[in-house]
Amino acid sequence: MTVLCLVEHESGVPIEASLRALTAARVLAAGPAPAADPALAGDAAQGGDAAQGGDAALAGDAALAGDAAQGGDAGLAGGPGLAAVVFGAGSLDAEVLGSYGVGVVHAVGPDPDPGYAPLAWARCLHSLMESVGAVAVVAAGTGRGAEVMAHLGAITGLPVAANCVSAEWDGIGVCRLVRQRWGGLLLEDAILEAPVALLTVAAEAVPPAPTPEPVPVEVRVVRPELDEADLAVMAAESAERASGASLATARVVVGGGRGVGGPEGFAPLEELAGLLGGVVGVSRVVTSEGWRPHTMQVGQTGTRITPEVYLACGISGAIQHMAGCSGAKHIIAVNKDPGAPMVSAADYAVIGDLHEVIPALVAALRERGLT
């Protein structure tokens, strides 16, 4: 019972979204629940859902699945459960993958990495899927993950379930899943019936959870045969990285909304972000007004962020925005209006004018010696 999971990495380090995807894929790799009690797994998931929301249920299931895998389901499937597919894996830290339950890494060459070609990546996944007899192929719901899985869906003619937050077997070839709709505002309970389950995992919804008992990793190098045509669309990466931390990966994001008042009002926010080693993100109204470029937009149609702390200043909290920041671990709102949706959606709130609070905060942090 092999489940393939596309793992993206930066300089050999798997990105967090891929670890989340692995966490979810591990459940499927454990195989279906014992035939005698097929309802068990489902019940557990549903009970967890009701009590604590989808995230917790998934984490619980993952642990359960890990145990089951040890107990011999892997044998039932006739092969190692969870396999990673990694492109350009020269410097890959395979041990991390082992800690997520990956038994086999299919490292796709040539090496060094020729770059990102979505169709070529999908062709590789397809040939691996066929050669190992995978029952599922999983990717993170990132820009690349979604794109490659769409190609795989198109190549195979199979359905793709995007942005799943949990998935488990409900019989042979039947996958019971929960996925995000409306940018996470809604959850959909769905059945995916297909010879191979293709799915992406919502980038910010599943907490990455290593398995308690890491498995040894076998790295298999794969050299696929590709048509010229498969490489026709190929990313040319610019040499320079965008300066500073990226919005998607920053540990601290300082958000600014309409309350900032205008393009010149962001200086204190930028100063604060600098002190905290973070970046500034903005709401949709800020980019629609042209105060800041769209690259800085946090939201359903902007960047989805997953920082430790999101400090939202003068942001009313429109749903567009909330969909983009709900992955933040802690949200602190600074807002004049205690009735603003952002305040009710936050963990902590300061009621006050950001034009007074933020400069005072900057001053206080400087006093503590932050630079």
Binding site: G143, A162, I191, G277, V357, L365
Partner: protein, 255 residues
């Protein structure tokens, strides 16, 4: 340049989505309808390209007769032609949707004025399937790239750019091609009054289509349980700053 833009009629929702009592659909009794911001940008991009290079923008949608509203919205913005692939209103999966769009593209080509470029939003606002554009490209054998925030035309093709994890990447595609775009590629215009009136008068081409079952079947929708507690108010105005510093310290972001 002949450009087709695919848009999808979706409910205009607020911060909380109301579902029908059976949990099967979004309750749209009090909501209007719109298209996703990505698609608004796709329409704008297409209009800008034809304003620069000449040609026609055709806006396509697959949906019930009422989806003509979204076609007219696009016509008001400068699209010159509108095609409704008319369904009976039932939900359609991405596989069947892509097939219907590909049929329209082929039909257009047979009529001698085929599309050079097909633009879609990166994903639909409601289903978020992230795949219709790619599937259409495979059906047509066209090159394809998704999530694009910059398009420029080159000798015999186009160059599409996007940013991925802090790195900007570009793709060269030959035409005809499929490109799905993301909000931020441009700032869409508003419809003018004359545009709106032109849109009202415009004819919409209608082709009936019928669905095929797909492997991904919705059982029901639900609103996720709130994950955050009621916010703790840590203070008012500048007096809250010491407490705020303390909180940031506690959360471990001052190191």
């Amino acid at each position: 340049m002949e450009i087709g833009v695919c848009v999808k009629r979706v409910p205009m929702v607020g911060g909380t989505i109301v579902l029908t009592p059976d949990g099967q659909e979004v309750d749209t009794r009090m909501s209007g309808f719109t298209i996703s911001p990505h698609e608004e940008c796709a329409v704008e991009e297409a209009v800008r390209i034809t304003e620069r290079l000449g040609g026609t923008v055709s806006v396509l949608t697959l949906g019930p007769a009422v989806a003509a509203e979204q076609l007219r919205d696009a016509l008001a913005l400068g699209a010159g032609r509108a095609v409704l692939l008319e369904t009976d209103g039932a939900g359609w999966g991405p596989i069947a949707t892509a097939a219907a769009i590909a049929d329209e593209v082929r039909r257009r080509a047979e009529a001698g004025s085929g599309y050079d470029l097909l633009l879609l939003g990166n994903e639909a606002a409601d289903t978020g399937d992230y795949q219709v554009g790619v599937r259409v490209a495979h059906l047509l054998g066209w090159p394809c790239v998704t999530g694009i925030k910059h398009i420029e035309f080159t000798e015999g093709g186009l160059r599409a750019g996007r940013e991925y994890r802090g790195v900007s990447e570009t793709f060269d595609l030959s035409l005809p091609a499929v490109v799905t775009v993301k909000e931020g590629i441009n700032l869409p215009r508003y419809p003018s009054l004359p545009g709106r009136l032109r849109a009202k008068r415009a004819q919409i081409e209608v082709y009936p289509v019928s669905p095929a079952p797909e492997g991904l079947r919705t059982q029901g929708l639900r609103v996720p349980a709130a994950t955050r507690q009621q916010a703790r108010i840590i203070g008012t105005g500048v007096e809250a700053v010491p407490a705020l510093v303390g909180l940031l310290d506690e959360l471990g972001v001052l190191s």
